[in-house]
Symmetry: C2
Subunit: 149 residues, 2 copies
């Protein structure tokens, strides 16, 4: 994988995220590629379809902090101490594309849930990232039976 | 890339196919992974929406022979002498999924044309392969300016 210089790993922070991280570890080996672990949080205004009252704004900040802590914990647990962690706010595929363009990412790695089960919730992210990416995209097939719960 | 034991490389035999092959070469390095170069040809009956008269049947056979020759030529030109070449007939994503399942493929590599230009023609194949794949999928971003013509 020495061909890639900057690898973005998109993580939804589900238990299955660790399958994606393990695959990246296996693939990168002792490569000195730069690694960015990215979680994109949809803004609460997207979810509720309007402006955010003050308490929802505070909730957003709180959720963002929690996501950052969880991302950093995953990075340490899975041997990504040298990776940089980023929590972005917006539409997942769009934010990953933007980050990739602005940071010269040449490989984006995301989990892919296939046709069944969680596809309805997460499946579109891998497709969304693939569609419109300016870099290579590796979709790591999540194996439901191996999920860490 | 030693983590992958059997790599399927899906090729549309366009000039851009060579970008995909070069990336696979770079990634595999001296790995001893099994490599299958696969081109899927849509049957003429799909294109014309009916049964194939005898002369179209002969044309199909001729097209299949030409595709096989082109695939084998690409394999030799790009240093894939040890790869096995397969021309399959059917719907591209479906045939690649079937081949992958039946042959224990753990990584499928396809070209991805992004949003512009050839997307309308080829873009759906990468998405189709991603959706429903039982293995990892690497979409190699085709760089239009580097296309070999």
């Amino acid at each position: 994988m020495a061909v890639y210089k900057h690898v973005l790993v998109g993580l939804d922070l589900s238990p299955e995220s660790r399958q994606v991280m393990r695959r990246v570890q296996e693939l990168l080996g002792d490569s000195d590629a730069r690694i960015s672990l990215v979680h994109v949080q949809e803004p609460l205004s997207f979810a509720y379809g309007g402006d955010i009252p003050m308490d929802l704004g505070q909730l957003q900040v709180k959720l963002e902090e929690q996501a950052r802590e969880r991302l950093q914990a995953l990075a340490i647990e899975d041997g990504f101490e040298r990776a940089r962690c980023h929590v972005l706010i917006g539409q997942p595929a769009h934010e990953m594309h933007r980050f990739a363009r602005e940071n010269d990412v040449d490989l984006a790695v995301v989990g892919s849930y296939g046709r069944h089960g969680l596809t309805l919730i997460f499946g579109s992210t891998a497709n969304g990232v693939l569609h419109g990416a300016t870099c290579d995209v590796l979709a790591v097939r999540i194996q439901p039976e191996k999920a860490d719960h």
